[in-house]
Assembly symmetry: C2
Homo-oligomer: 405 residues x 2
């Protein structure tokens, strides 16, 4: 950072992103764009490392440590200790490991509480674990978010929540909720998929027990890039139920019995894709000169600007914004509840303004502090206004369903 | 294949592999080399697909189907039905899914039998599942391979074995063992990591119940590339205990309750690395014009040739070969049990002959039908003979331990 103003660092980063001509990309909450650093890093891994070193690459290029070294790169972004994060597997798999570890740490408690509007995939994983263990050993209650305020946590093993809601973009009060649940002995597990890279999460400062996330949204690790897992150092005595050879204390001794490696290494399971992890590693190099506070400030400024644009534009000022207007209470996306949201999203995409749609009627605008700016947001709102006033979205060509994630 | 002799197809494939100047690569049982088709396919995925399509890539390039489409590419190599294989996660994670599914299918049986000399990582996964479920619901017995012949399978839920032993390279009699265990009601699960791409496995013809494997050995998918899972169609009613959103019947409806997708799709869990799967897909394109029988014939010819070289060379003729001399009883590696195996492996590597070492005293030569040939094997044996007769391996520089997998 030395010698840079924050704007300089962000502008420098921005120049490295590849953005197709004429595209305004407002879907970084689903998939971040390709940065030159990533394209170059992948090239090195594929041609220079795999191509030239072959099997020796595990040693020469320290591939074997990638889950830990990428975890160390993630740590400052998450506000975690350097030895509290690994990058491997998918968010879903890491969530399974965390929930199982949480039940172990907090035994004999065996109740998992989630939010009924949590990202459904997270709740499916909890349900899968409960089905496997049976009701005597694991019970899952999905409750409305507002009920959490008065919930009795005294028999809760793990509270599993999303830091930013994927539909309406609300940022949950992580410090307060964590404190309240922990005060009654519950462990708290946050899914930070939609906050990593745009919110100053401060996992360690808030004494969060566990967290999971993915690297393909605001961290720009590539489509479907690996997930990550954070476990507070005080809990790292827990065992990994997905006890694979990479988590063994002495992998290459090939001992008949499993012995957990120390620390987070035990939560690696099988061999990880070196190419996928290299992409994440390169994507995180991009973050080396920015702090979570800088990212958060820029994200808040942009989402506020977007709301102001919507409010001052006659055709959009009456739309229902599901996202809190208080910047302290939102992540880095703005969600509009709007009839015909799907064809409207398609009409925007046709004009090069990439947004996404969530059933049944939510139009999402993901805003990245790394590559979005105010003129883009002006143009996005102007296009939305035009589409609404001309009703062009009623054209049948905008009805065909696509797939976005 | 039309118009090609097998040798033509293999020679054409071989020209595409990148091999560093002067290297004789005999470690394809650990990590296959980079093929031009893979380098080009990755370039397309990274720059043209991710770079240009961004989120629309999931739809435009059918990323979302990759676990199934790569599974369809794997099917002929494994002798499986087109709808019986998926490519995703790691071998270890897929093994966990299979074992849990096996216990469900074969309930109330709850005994898993493995081999005590099985790849330890596979046994760690079984142990992890047993620890999670407790002794009333899962028990694992690891027995010596020779005891399997007389074992009573009548209370066995799943028999979990390696098709080719990773240490000595023996090929197990898959048809016979499968038949015998199934006759007493056990399900049979084969780890085909070391046979996929070099043995005519014929999973479906042998009515195998389940199989797992990896794609980074003889399939050349890249370091740590994704694993795969085969489940016979008749068992696809089983549920996936790692029930993630990608395995839901209607992913983008974001329904609160989990509903299994039909067929193998339910065994996908979280979002998969598109870059990693694209590499595997490109690596399997290389196999489009060859059959498992062709690969097996060439592999057997090469391993036989290597043994003949060892036998006719005075300095190597007395070495203890752990691998069966009958080609029907081995995979595509030759293992020598040899004192000072580690420094000898390092001395070979220094001469550009890449082999690997397994504790305590095993020197492994992996031989690929796609890129190895007889002159390479001549040179490898000549180098080994020279190293043994000059005792150069006693030099301290060959003692330092590296990491290979």
């Amino acid at each position: 950072m030395s010698g840079f103003y924050p704007e300089d660092a962000l502008a420098e980063i921005r120049r490295g992103f590849h953005m197709p001509e004429g595209m305004i990309y407002l879907d970084g909450n689903s998939l971040g764009p390709l940065h030159a650093t990533v394209a170059q890093g992948l090239q090195r891994t594929i041609r220079d490392q795999w191509g030239e070193s072959l099997i020796m690459g595990w040693n020469q290029h320290n591939w074997i440590q990638l889950p830990l070294t990428v975890g160390q790169q993630l740590a400052p972004i998450l506000g975690a200790g350097a030895n509290e994060v690994i990058c491997c597997d998918s968010l879903s798999i890491n969530l399974f490991k965390c929930l199982a570890a949480g039940l172990q740490i907090n035994a004999p408690r065996h109740r998992i509480v989630t939010e009924s509007e949590h990202f459904p995939g997270d709740n499916y994983i909890a349900a899968g674990l409960a089905n496997l263990l049976g009701p005597q050993r694991c019970r899952v209650d999905a409750v409305p978010f507002n009920d959490l305020e008065t919930l009795d946590f005294s028999d809760v093993a793990v509270l599993s929540l999303a830091h930013v809601d994927f539909k309406h973009g609300s940022l949950r009060d992580l410090p307060e909720i964590t404190r309240r649940a922990q005060a009654q002995g519950a462990l708290v597990l946050w899914d930070v998929a939609h906050s990593a890279g745009v919110v100053d999460i401060a996992l360690a400062a808030n004494a969060v027990d566990m967290a999971v996330g993915c690297t393909y949204k605001f961290l720009n690790g590539g489509p479907g890039s690996p997930g990550f897992m954070y476990l507070a150092e005080r809990h790292q005595h827990a065992t990994n139920v997905l006890s694979g050879w990479m988590g063994h204390a002495n992998r290459f001794a090939f001992e008949p019995d499993y012995q957990s490696a120390p620390g987070m290494e035990r939560f690696t399971t099988g061999t990880q894709s070196v190419i996928a992890l290299s992409a994440v590693s390169a994507a995180l190099e991009v973050f080396a000169d920015v702090t979570p506070a800088m990212l958060r400030a820029r994200s808040s400024a942009l989402t506020s600007y977007f709301i102001e644009c919507l409010d001052r534009t006659p055709q959009t000022s009456g739309l229902t914004c599901l996202t809190p207007k208080d910047p302290e209470k939102r992540g880095s996306q703005i969600s509009l509840q709007i009839d015909d949201g799907f064809p409207i999203s398609q009409a925007l995409i046709e004009r090069g303004i990439i947004v996404d749609f969530r059933e049944p009627n939510i139009l999402r605008f993901g805003i990245s502090p790394l590559y979005n700016d105010e003129p883009q947001l002006d143009r996005a709102v102007a296009a939305l206004a035009d589409i609404l006033s001309t009703r062009v979205y009623l054209d049948p060509r905008f009805q065909q369903r696509g797939i976005v994630t």
